[in-house]
């Protein structure tokens, strides 16, 4: 790459640059400033903390369910409350925890990984967070005012239609999806534009960290998948319920299966939206703690790409019991099995890396091992579910519940916890206690398997999903009781994690910039990073710039420090192209989100409130883009 070959060695004045940068990038104190923040670390952290709170909420809902199911004919929860709780549990975990958490981690980490100061659209970033928060609050407002949804997290009509679910429960659920979906689309746009345009000079496509590839791929998936859930929940279901359309109403030419097709066209990629970032976490952890360059980088990137494409061709495997034509179903069996090749390739590459590296058995590696165990088991039951004859027996039973918890918790949550332990030092400046971390791991691992493994057996023995109780004579009680015990072990693991997070903040060992001797750019700066990330933006002379000879490392000079300026580079080879001034704090993203939210909240009561939302968004955007004379001179 020509520009970096013969760069001169210069003396750089670090101190003055730092001072100017501190001023330009400061987030002042005070409520108004807090609402106006547009730096990616703060917004990323907000997503992470908020999503974690919803993980806890979902966990509480799970524990309540497990208590009810621990005994046959139990009366701890009646059918109404149980149905609300299992619906809210699924909805919370899928929409309010999993996707936002992955987005939050990306917002925090991606600019650091690619060597820039902020995301490409800082105010859009803020807007996306507020929309997520307003949507989540909307749903839980419903939960706490006896308007919780109760028709399952995928809300099949006609059960969720106006005739069989009167009232506002389904409407709150459907419109919450609009919020979380807009939020995810904002983040996806953000991540793509950032990775494509703001990479460090020299970070050509084949030097992009694997986790950044994961986020790039996942973001494109979001663009194509999220609109489908908007169509199914809002255009079809909400409109059928509120303004009398007939999309899914079988008694007027509509078709409940149309809803299922469109929902699952989103729903299947949705789980890969959660899973693919986790694969990126695993790669980052494996390569860093094995202390070697990842084996099979091209294979890993291409596998994730394959995963992303094939994920859009699987959705009918959720509908095998609806008596669709056999030939069509066979195609989906083939694709559902084929996707295992992509996952398998990645697992082999990771094992190869572990095998040939010098692994340090720290807590993040434990979580990766837990991921391998749990996710592979879940993937194997997935291959079973891909087969139509097998699926027709275990579909809608606890076997499926076991399967998807194995792949989601094993495939996403374990890598996420590994990522927490791996990047906590970068985010806070302290290292989490490794010994407690291992206890944390074992509690979660054992608790998880004790909870969910018995469910395979329960499903094979006839226990269907979404039942608030079951009779004694079915013989399901012992396995259920065991599962409940496991759930409380998981709770214990969660508590240990929270305690470790809190205590390490104060008592953890000082991390320094690079506690793990990692090779990627996020380790090239302070822990926690300043708002501007790097005093001088780094250039990427290889895939692992920090593993290069320090004498060969290159930094960028010539960007102005007294305003929020970043470097825009080209798509393929990341050659410097122009400089870009990013906006500072602004209250307008918050106001735009608030005004739009008011309209969207109202729209579940009357369609005309959509126009309030549009007007509110317009007003907000006018304020947002109002030009400042100084910058706008011809």
């Amino acid at each position: 790459m020509t520009p970096l070959v013969a760069t001169p060695v210069r003396e750089i004045d670090d101190v003055r640059g730092r001072h100017d940068l501190e001023n330009a990038w400061r987030n002042p104190a005070g409520l108004l400033s807090w609402l106006s923040v547009a730096t990616h670390q703060a917004i990323g952290m907000r997503y992470i903390v908020t999503a974690f709170i919803f993980l806890l909420a979902g966990g509480v809902e799970a524990l309540l369910m497990r208590i009810q199911l621990a005994k046959a004919d139990n009366t701890f929860l009646g059918p109404d409350k149980y149905n609300e709780i299992f619906t809210t549990h699924g909805t919370t975990m899928m929409f309010l925890f999993a996707v936002p958490m992955m987005e939050g981690m990306a917002i925090y980490l991606v600019p650091l990984l690619i060597g820039t100061r902020n995301v490409a659209f800082p105010r859009l970033n803020a807007f996306g967070y507020w929309m997520y928060l307003f949507g989540a609050l909307f749903l839980y407002f419903g939960v706490f005012t006896n308007t919780a949804p109760d028709m399952g997290w995928f809300a099949y009509p006609p059960l969720s239609g106006p005739q069989f679910s009167p009232g506002k429960r389904v409407d709150f659920w459907a419109q919450m999806i609009t919020f979380t979906e807009i939020s995810a689309l904002c983040v996806a746009t953000e991540i793509i534009a950032t990775i494509v345009k703001l990479r460090a000079p020299g970070m050509s496509l084949n030097r992009i960290p694997i986790y950044a590839w994961s986020m790039l791929i996942q973001s494109f998936m979001i663009l194509f998948a999220m609109p489908a859930v908007m169509v199914s929940s809002t255009v079809m279901l909400l409109n059928d319920r509120t303004i009398g359309t007939h999309f899914v109403n079988p008694w007027a030419g509509g078709d409940p299966l149309l809803y299922q097709h469109v929902f699952w066209f989103f729903g299947h990629p949705e789980v890969y939206l959660i899973f693919i970032p986790a694969l990126g976490f695993v790669s980052a952890i494996v390569e860093t703690h094995s202390r070697r360059a990842m084996f099979g980088y091209p294979a890993l990137v291409l596998s994730q790409l394959a995963n992303a494409f094939v994920a859009f061709g699987l959705w009918v495997h959720h509908m095998f019991a609806t008596d669709l034509p056999q030939m069509g179903e066979s195609y989906f069996t083939a694709s559902s099995m084929m996707i295992a090749i992509a996952s398998g390739t990645q697992i082999f590459c990771w094992i190869a890396t572990l095998w040939s590296g010098r692994v340090k058995m720290r807590t993040p590696v434990y979580f990766v091992l837990g991921f391998i165990f749990i996710f592979v088991l879940g993937g194997l039951t997935g291959v079973m579910l891909a087969s139509v004859p097998l699926d027709l027996q275990v579909h809608d039973t606890f076997f499926v519940v076991a399967h998807f918890h194995y792949v989601l918790i094993g495939g996403a949550l374990f890598p996420l916890f590994g990522a927490f332990y791996h990047w906590y030092p970068k985010m806070t400046g302290r290292v989490m206690d490794d010994f407690i971390g291992k206890i944390n791991f074992w509690l979660l691992f054992i608790g998880f398997n004790v909870t969910f493994f018995p469910m395979h057996i329960l499903g094979l023995h006839g226990m269907t999903r979404r039942i608030y109780t079951y009779p004694q004579e079915m013989g399901w009680e012992p396995m259920n009781a065991l599962a409940t015990v496991g759930a409380f072990i998981i709770l214990l693991g969660g508590i240990v994690f929270i305690l470790n997070v809190i205590s390490s903040r104060r008592h953890g060992a000082e991390a320094g910039a690079n506690p793990w001797d990692g090779g990627t750019l996020e380790w090239a700066t302070d822990s926690p990073p300043r708002n501007y990330n790097f005093v001088n933006l780094p250039a990427a002379t290889s895939r692992y710039p920090l593993w290069n000879d320090p004498k060969e490392r290159v930094v960028v000079t010539g960007l102005r420090d007294d305003r929020r300026e970043v470097l825009v580079t080209t798509l393929m080879d990341a050659e410097p192209h122009h400089r870009l001034v990013l906006p500072s704090s602004s209250i307008w993203p918050f106001l735009t989100a608030l005004l739009s939210a008011i309209g969207l909240w109202g729209s579940v009561f009357h369609f005309s409130w959509y126009y309030v939302a549009m007007l509110g968004a317009f007003i907000g955007l006018v304020g947002w883009f109002w030009p400042r004379r100084r910058e706008a001179e011809a």
Partner: protein, 338 residues
């Protein structure tokens, strides 16, 4: 192999032997069981191999790896990378081949099951899902041979039966694991599946698509009779309701006809012709009530009539405030409807 697998897979012998996919009682379910056994053992082996590889990767002594370059630049030697490439490539190839094999097995089994459909000596039973009970009607070209009942399906051993399914309200799912996989019951559509029992017995089923408040209590029974017993059952079902023979039973019928029962239920041979609740003409011959929720005893039936919301909260049966002295005759009458 199947029996051994079955024994192993039945992790706990405490399970009821009536709703288990691992206790096939008919050809379709047997196909599932065979396929499942193959998948299970092959996949269990794969799982153990992957775990073993991972464990080995972590514990191996570092033979054949030049450590020094690794320590310095974190990049292993070319020779190591080549070895790994072959191994990983082999792993991927093995994965593809195994998946192909499983795919072929699956599609073959699917075809075998569908070949059991459309048989000449088949019988058609229409099942309509309702919140939260099953309407059952034995179709026949001869209208006088049509049996209408609810929640309990009798079939003759060895004869294929087509379950022709639909729903009156939301999506339900017909599932009797010991006979076959499930089929959704979708309003305004007809779905089909075939079941066949190869020995007499009682096989429990349950609705397998969340259908609202009492989804948990929407079960059914399929009873496989010998052909002789099935004919006897069918003939009895074709008769109108047993005429009450004692004054007490007549009084019980009067209680039934007096209350709002008739708005929903029907009893052939009386004026009760409601269509939105289970047909009660032969209630006494069924061994459960409330869609498999309770055994059909006088005590349970009384409890159900007096307070249905206590047993199935949210279900659509009204609470009738039957007077205390009317309850016994009513229950006696209903139980007399064999």
């Amino acid at each position: 192999m199947s029996r051994l697998s079955g024994g192993f897979l039945l992790a706990s012998t405490a399970f009821a032997r009536s709703q288990s996919a691992l206790e096939p009682a008919g050809p379709q379910a047997a196909h599932f069981f065979r396929l499942f056994s193959w998948f299970f053992w092959i996949e269990a082996a794969i799982f153990l191999i992957v775990l073993a590889l991972t464990a080995w990767a972590l514990t191996r002594r570092h033979r054949g790896i030049e450590q020094e370059p690794l320590e310095r630049v974190h990049i292993p030697s070319e020779e190591t990378e080549k070895k790994l490439l072959w191994t990983v490539g082999g792993g991927i190839l093995a994965t593809v081949l195994i998946l192909l094999g499983l795919l072929v097995a699956s599609v073959t089994t699917g075809k075998a099951i569908s070949e059991l459909a459309n048989q000449k000596n088949g019988m058609v039973v229409e099942v309509v899902g309702n919140q939260w009970w099953w309407y059952v009607r034995y179709l026949n070209d001869d209208a006088s041979q049509i049996v209408v009942t609810a929640n309990e399906i009798h079939i003759p051993v060895g004869r294929p039966v087509r379950i022709r399914g639909t729903s009156n309200d939301v999506i339900h799912s017909f599932w009797v694991p010991e006979l076959n996989g499930k089929r959704d019951l979708i309003p305004s559509r007809i779905t089909d599946e075939w079941i066949e029992a190869d020995h007499p017995g009682r096989f429990r089923g349950q609705c397998a698509e969340f259908c609202g408040m009492q989804h948990a209590h929407m079960s059914l029974w399929v009873v496989a009779d010998t052909p002789g017993d099935f004919e006897k059952w069918k003939q009895r079902q074709l008769q109108p309701a047993v005429e009450p023979s004692t004054p007490e039973l007549i009084a019980g019928r009067d209680v039934f006809l007096k209350y709002a029962c008739v708005y929903c239920h029907s009893i052939t041979g009386t004026t009760a012709a409601g269509q939105v609740a289970p047909d009660l003409t032969h209630l006494g011959s069924r061994f459960t009530i409330a869609a498999g929720t309770l055994p059909n005893t006088k005590g349970n039936l009384a409890g159900w009539i007096v307070d249905p919301q206590n047993i199935k909260p949210g279900n659509h049966m009204a609470t009738l405030n039957v007077k205390a002295e009317e309850l016994q005759p009513l229950v006696d009458y209903l139980e007399s409807l064999q």
